[in-house]
């Protein structure tokens, strides 16, 4: 066991070449041991899920504005709710991992800033009724996906998952279960009422609920994200996909009717309600 007070071999002033070589050897050993610790494949999967979420949101938003400029404002609000729920959930899930990839440097953020600016410009063009090549609405989210997903994909392809590191499902605590059901209620209501005239009231209520439970660390969305296992994240992915598909469907077809929206809302609610009570028992040998 190492101690803080004892100087390194040689202690600086009397450091011999052999002492310096020993320190360099120790540096290599520690660096390699730390590098072998992660970030884990589960963390890479979570980062990849973020890439999918962001790029999907961009694609659906741009396509909705493009194909349904007149009725796009309500439909784009439907997209906002899962995206706003995802962010604090993700923040909580990141706390599971003992090794986290540090937030990238200025070059990465500059690239993402450019993509965001292009996204805003394309959205603005659609709102202003100015046309642009259709493929741009897909190329831009594609570029965002490549930027965000390249590192986690490399990690997933290059590493296997040690058994001790597998992210497994556990029964949720009472508070996480209630928040999971609340997510189902919120997303279900948003989907169900998306075709109704007073949708904006439901949306405002959902926003208030999100503000109330959004960032409460002890029982809110971050805590729930921390507790969620793969099955809960997969269910949330299903719910988000369903809502995004609903928006696309309503944008490009005339199926934006109450039975379709209520059916979708009920489906979304049932998925989150069911998964809130899964798994019934903890899996054996589970660990982060």
């Amino acid at each position: 066991m190492e101690t803080e007070g004892v100087p390194a071999p040689g202690g600086g002033a009397e450091l011999s070449p052999a002492d310096a070589a020993e320190l360099l050897r120790r540096h290599e050993e520690l660096r390699d041991r730390a590098a072998s610790q992660g970030p884990s494949r589960s963390f890479a999967l979570l980062t990849l899920a973020t890439a999918v979420m962001v790029s999907s949101y961009m694609a659906v938003y741009l396509l909705t504005l493009r194909y349904r400029p007149g009725g796009a404002s309500t439909l784009t609000l439907v997209l906002v709710i899962p995206a706003l729920i995802f962010s604090p959930l993700l923040s909580g899930a990141r706390e599971r991992f003992a090794v986290r990839r540090r937030r990238p440097g200025p070059l990465y953020w500059a690239g993402n800033g450019l993509l965001l600016a292009a996204f805003i410009v394309l959205g603005g063009l659609s709102i202003a009724g100015v046309g642009y090549p259709w493929w741009l609405a897909l190329a831009l989210p594609g570029a965002a996906f490549v930027t965000l997903a390249s590192r986690p994909v490399r990690r997933l392809l290059s590493e296997t998952t040690p058994k001790s590191e597998r992210w497994q499902n556990h029964p949720l605590t009472g508070s996480a279960r209630r928040v999971t059901v609340a997510i189902g209620v919120m997303t279900g209501l948003i989907a169900a009422t998306s075709t109704w005239r007073w949708f904006s009231i439901v949306f405002m209520a959902a926003m208030l609920l999100l503000l109330a439970m959004g960032w409460m660390p002890r029982w809110g969305l971050p805590r729930t994200g921390y507790e969620w296992g793969p099955i809960h994240w997969a269910s949330f992915a299903v719910v988000t996909t369903a809502m995004f598909l609903l928006v696309i469907l309503f944008s490009v077809t005339a199926w934006d009717t109450t039975p379709v929206s209520v059916g979708a809302g009920a489906g979304v609610f049932v998925v989150m309600l069911a998964v809130a009570f899964l798994p019934a028992r903890a899996q054996h040998g589970s660990s982060d």
Partner: protein, 100 residues
């Protein structure tokens, strides 16, 4: 020619602080408990080392909450990374005998 030992950084001249910076070399945030295991150090020794490097501006400490339990993350700063790289260069120069 100035002897490279003069370029050694005092902040890294205890084994634990030196090892801590080595562990933080990869572009990651490391959890306190993981660092403790990696460095085979006890909590108080590691805390003192982190506090010393934090005061020097060489590491950044982030507090998080896991459920109801606090969690501490440590990462090296750009200043710490550069200082540590300079320290390693001085060690290499000493090893290579490049001081006239």
């Amino acid at each position: 020619m100035v002897h490279p030992r003069h370029r050694l950084d005092e902040a890294f001249q205890t084994p634990i602080r030196f090892s801590l910076m080595a562990a933080l070399e990869s572009n990651t945030d490391l959890d306190f408990q993981l660092l403790r295991d990696l460095l085979e150090a006890d909590d108080s020794v590691l805390s003192k080392s982190i506090a010393h490097l934090d005061k020097a501006g060489y590491v950044r400490v982030t507090k998080g909450l896991v459920g109801t339990r606090p969690r501490t993350w440590v990462q090296s700063t750009a200043k710490g990374h550069n200082a540590y790289r300079a320290h390693l260069r001085a060690l290499r120069d000493i090893t290579d005998g490049e001081f006239g």
